[in-house]
């Protein structure tokens, strides 16, 4: 019995890893695998993972062996006498992770099938599926992680694949710059995650969630941390979750992330990645119960995000940005629900929202065609005369709100002018000082290539 569930759990975890290796190794050796095979690998790996997960539910429910803990032993184990340092490779199959795992596998299966047609003969077809496999691997690891290090591993894989897929059309500058923007926000918020991981280690020498959630199954766990520890770890994890789920003040990156191909936009920012922060918040629900002000903070963040995204979403002129902000509205509501303690409601909300938004995003490229079809079916134009909120506002206020909304709350501009430019300016000044000092010492100008011009095409022939 135990060996059966252990094997099934291992298959769920290993299927995406095998998929990633199967796509990556031929690329590494410049071997061309056909699109058909890449698609088949993807479908087979996801199907095997999904069937195994369903089997775990069936076997686990019939034998009442859920939640199931899958332990692969210690990944790192150092035992200095004063401070034991240990990373356990442990995964948990409980209501929360199984639900999220099912959602991940089903949606990735759908998107994989859709993308095979959508990206047919696209130059980056293999690159897309490689990053898609990396994303799937990250999602599965993060979903089933029972230790904070395993979660961090999955979390970072999701972040990297997200940023690289935003920059998928990498021969243009705009997607690349937006990809870097997404990555920068992720790295800063992930720093908070790492601080939380180390703090959790400091509190308990190990990073198992059982220290956060107690031994009871989700969602009735009780934190084993002191109030101070729980406050600090919880705050850091809320920052990390806010970055991943684009809660304010990190919301600016989500519409920018729509530069990527539609399938990745759907799976990342409509369905899964954007909910990963909410998943983390659900995982640490016992800490939120223990520290009331963290719950209050989360409610404020959630409501603030909802209000912001609702207003900003109403003035967007392209469908993907509008859908991104509509997603954000729901994510804000989900965070609010978690803050209020409605854990099952939040979980159901995540599932429903993920499916709806995936459908909307996948239909987005053919929106006009759909409209034509609907209008043809009803025999008239679809009315666009719904009563609008702005009709009740004075025109000056309405204009100000419109400007604020079209600039997405000036969030990006605030971050640029308040953080990025002073930061860059400071280090540029330091660079000038350093160069002057070196020039003084050596008597020659620095930075041979700083004056270098862009090489013209074909310079390598010279």
């Amino acid at each position: 019995m135990e060996s059966t569930t252990f094997s099934l759990g291992s298959i769920v975890l290993l299927a995406p890893v095998v998929l990633f290796i199967a796509i990556a190794v031929p690329l590494l050796f410049s071997l061309r695998v056909s699109e058909v095979w890449v698609t088949k690998f993807t479908k087979i790996a996801i199907s095997i993972g999904l069937i195994s997960l369903i089997a775990i539910i069936v076997v686990g429910s019939s034998r009442a062996s859920l939640p199931l803990i899958l332990s692969f032993g210690n990944w790192v184990d150092l035992q200095p006498s004063q401070s034991h340092f240990q990373f356990r490779l442990e995964f948990v199959f409980d209501v929360l992770s199984i639900t999220f795992g099912l959602l991940t596998l089903v949606l990735c299966g759908v998107i994989g099938t859709f993308a095979a047609n959508y990206l047919h003969r696209e130059p980056g077809f293999h690159r897309f599926f490689l990053l898609f496999a990396m994303f799937l691997m990250g999602m599965i690891v993060a979903t089933f992680a029972a230790t904070i290090e395993s979660l961090f591993l999955g979390w970072e894989l999701v972040g990297l694949s997200s940023a690289l897929l935003v920059a998928f059309f990498h021969e243009r500058v705009a997607p690349v710059e937006n990809g870097l923007r997404v990555w920068s926000v992720y790295r800063i918020s992930d720093a908070a995650f790492l601080v939380a991981a180390v703090a959790l280690h400091g509190a308990s020498t190990q990073g198992e969630f059982v220290n956060l959630t107690g031994s009871e199954s989700w969602p009735s766990g009780e934190s084993g941390l002191t109030l101070g520890q729980a406050s600090f770890v919880g705050l850091m994890l809320i920052i990390a979750a806010a970055g991943k789920s684009a809660l304010i003040p990190f919301s600016g990156w989500l519409p920018r992330a729509m530069e990527g191909p539609t399938p990745s936009s759907a799976v990342f920012y409509g369905a899964l990645s954007v909910h990963l922060g909410a998943y983390l918040l659900l995982r640490i629900e016992s800490v939120l119960d223990q520290v009331w002000w963290l719950s209050a903070l989360l409610v404020m963040l959630g409501l603030g995000t909802t209000v912001f995204a609702t207003i900003a979403g109403r003035v967007q002129s392209d469908i993907k940005s509008a859908l991104a902000l509509a997603s954000l509205t729901q994510v804000g509501l989900i965070a609010t629900e978690i803050g209020f303690g409605f854990r099952y409601l939040a979980l159901a909300h995540i599932v429903g929202h993920a499916f709806l938004r995936t459908l909307q995003l996948l239909r987005a490229p053919s929106l006009l065609r759909d409209f034509h079809g609907w209008e043809h079916a009803i025999g008239t134009r679809i009315s666009n005369s719904a009563q609008r909120l702005e009709a009740f506002l004075p025109s000056s206020v309405s204009t100000a709100v419109y400007r604020w909304a079209i600039e997405r709350g000036y969030l990006d501009r605030l971050i640029d002018s308040g953080i990025v430019r002073p930061f860059i300016g400071f280090f540029q000044r330091c660079d000038i000082v350093e160069r002057s000092w070196i020039e003084f010492l050596s008597g020659q100008t620095q930075g041979e290539s700083d004056q270098a011009q862009l090489p013209f095409e074909g310079i390598e022939e010279l």
């Binding site: 401070s83 340092f85 990297l160 990498h170 390598e460």
Partner: protein, 476 residues
């Protein structure tokens, strides 16, 4: 593993030394390259055997009566790793660059680096450190570059190193003023390590000598090894921790500076400075976890920074020096190099699944025990490094479609070098236990050495002993 009973340690050092004289006699560059490749490969084989001999027997016996050379826990992985780097850089040198490389000088440098990693004696190490700074100086002169910045810093380094060593040999072990010569030694090592504000020679070096020379001079971090041998066993904790704070500042400062660089070489330089400072931060914590983290980051940085340097060098050899103000769109022509650059960069920033991850985690944990709040600077530095790595990746490999009429793809020998480094970064990242255990044993040896010294020093602060493992307390 069977290890033939031969003087491997000595052989590993003698081969490049003899070959440095031998290749001077060869006029044809491609033939000289081949001879150099054979010599460095033989040296690598010998150093691997010396390492294995140490692992099997617990020591590597000097068989030619050269008992001044040694491999122990502190030097065991560094010795073959340094040797491997020199082999990989020969493999990764393209034909167009043959004319610029002085094989004789590079072989001599290899011999010096290997001898340094096999040295334990104080004055021997001092001599080798000073000798090691000579080859870059000669290259400055050969390339007709102004050598003022390098000479200023190396003269300062040499002066402080020698005066500190003299002061240490003259001072009594129980003297209350012993912190002065140790402070001089610390300052010398920090200059050689490139710690703020005396780091400018590193930028100057990277800009003015060949990129390969700069990478091979910097990445092994012989200064950290010198610190382990000369300073850590006897320096007062308070003195170490002040310098650790300076290194922490350097780590963040260099990570910030890396973000604003418009030149690939200068970018590499600041990324190196940020990583090397983290090594020193770990070493100076003198806690078991922090030390293990520092030693682990050291190896991670050698591999990842060599990988980044190798990629930038390969691009430079094809395209010339590139400005980072523009996008170059090279991905389509060199996807392997692009992926490798990203992997190495992420490893240097402590990305999970790579060699840097657990090392950074250990370091942060160790630093956090000493500086509860300031320790977060480690995470800040790695976050900034992670951002700058992706920024440079995008600048070099994306943003436009580059049209080339000839293949820019790496040659087979470059592929071998790249795949070897990538495999090491991933394997040690995915299965880090044995590698971390070896670093943990080195930590214990270092703490043992320190315990021995502190036990003889009645005037030392009792708090020093509190940082040592309980097992060592009980031994006293």
């Amino acid at each position: 593993m069977f290890v033939p009973n031969l003087p491997w340690l000595e052989t590993a050092i003698i081969i490049p030394l003899v070959a440095s004289v031998w290749v001077r006699r060869i006029d044809r560059r491609d033939q000289a390259r081949l001879h150099k490749l054979v010599a460095t490969s033989l040296s690598l084989i010998a150093s691997c055997f010396a390492w294995q001999e140490f692992k099997c027997r617990g020591n590597s016996m000097p068989r030619l009566g050269w008992d001044f050379l040694i491999i122990d826990e502190l030097s065991s992985p560094l010795f073959p790793l340094a040797s491997l780097l020199f082999v990989l850089f020969v493999l990764a040198t393209v034909r167009t660059k043959l004319i610029q490389v002085s094989y004789s000088r590079r072989l001599f440098s290899e011999a010096i680096v290997l001898a340094t990693f096999a040295s334990k004696n104080h004055w021997q190490l001092v001599a080798l450190l000073l000798l090691g700074s000579l080859p870059p100086f000669l290259e400055y002169r050969q390339r007709s570059k102004r050598v003022g910045t390098y000479v200023f810093h190396m003269a300062l380094f040499g002066g402080l190193l020698v005066s500190g060593s003299i002061g240490l040999s003259l001072s009594d072990a129980q003297s209350t003023l012993r912190f002065v010569p140790i402070g001089l030694l610390l300052a010398a090592i920090l200059i050689r390590h490139g710690v703020f504000p005396l780091h400018c020679w590193v930028t100057d070096l990277v800009e003015n000598v060949t990129f390969g020379t700069a990478i091979l001079f910097l990445t092994p971090m012989v200064s950290a090894y010198a610190a382990m041998r000369l300073i850590l066993p006897s320096a007062p904790i308070w003195e170490l921790q002040w310098f650790a704070l300076l290194s922490l500042i350097t780590a963040v400062y260099a990570a910030g500076m890396a973000m604003v660089q418009a030149d690939t070489r200068r970018y590499f330089c600041y990324l190196f400075l940020s990583n090397s400072s983290l090594v020193w931060v770990g070493l100076a914590t003198m806690t078991p976890i922090g030390l293990t983290g520092g030693l682990a980051i050291w190896l991670a940085a050698i591999l990842s920074l060599s990988g980044i340097g190798m990629t930038l060098r390969a691009i430079e050899s094809r395209m010339g020096r590139l400005s980072l103000r523009d996008y170059h769109g090279l991905y389509e022509h060199m996807p392997l190099l692009a992926v490798f650059f990203l992997l190495a960069g992420l490893a240097s920033a402590g990305f999970p699944g790579t060699i840097g991850f657990v090392a950074i985690d250990l370091l942060f944990d160790g630093v956090n025990q000493i500086y509860r709040y300031v320790g977060a600077a480690v995470v800040l530095a790695t976050a900034l490094n992670g951002i700058s790595v992706l920024k440079i990746y995008f600048r070099l490999f994306t943003g436009k479609r580059h049209v080339a009429s000839i293949s820019l793809a790496p040659r087979w020998s470059e592929r071998v070098a790249i795949i070897m480094l990538a495999a090491m970064m991933l394997i040690l990242g995915l299965a880090p236990q044995s590698f971390l255990l070896s670093r943990f044993e080195a930590t214990n040896e270092l703490l043992n050495m320190r315990t021995g010294n502190i036990a003889t020093d009645k005037h030392s602060n009792h708090s020093d002993l509190q940082l040592l493992p309980a097992t060592l307390h009980s031994a006293n």
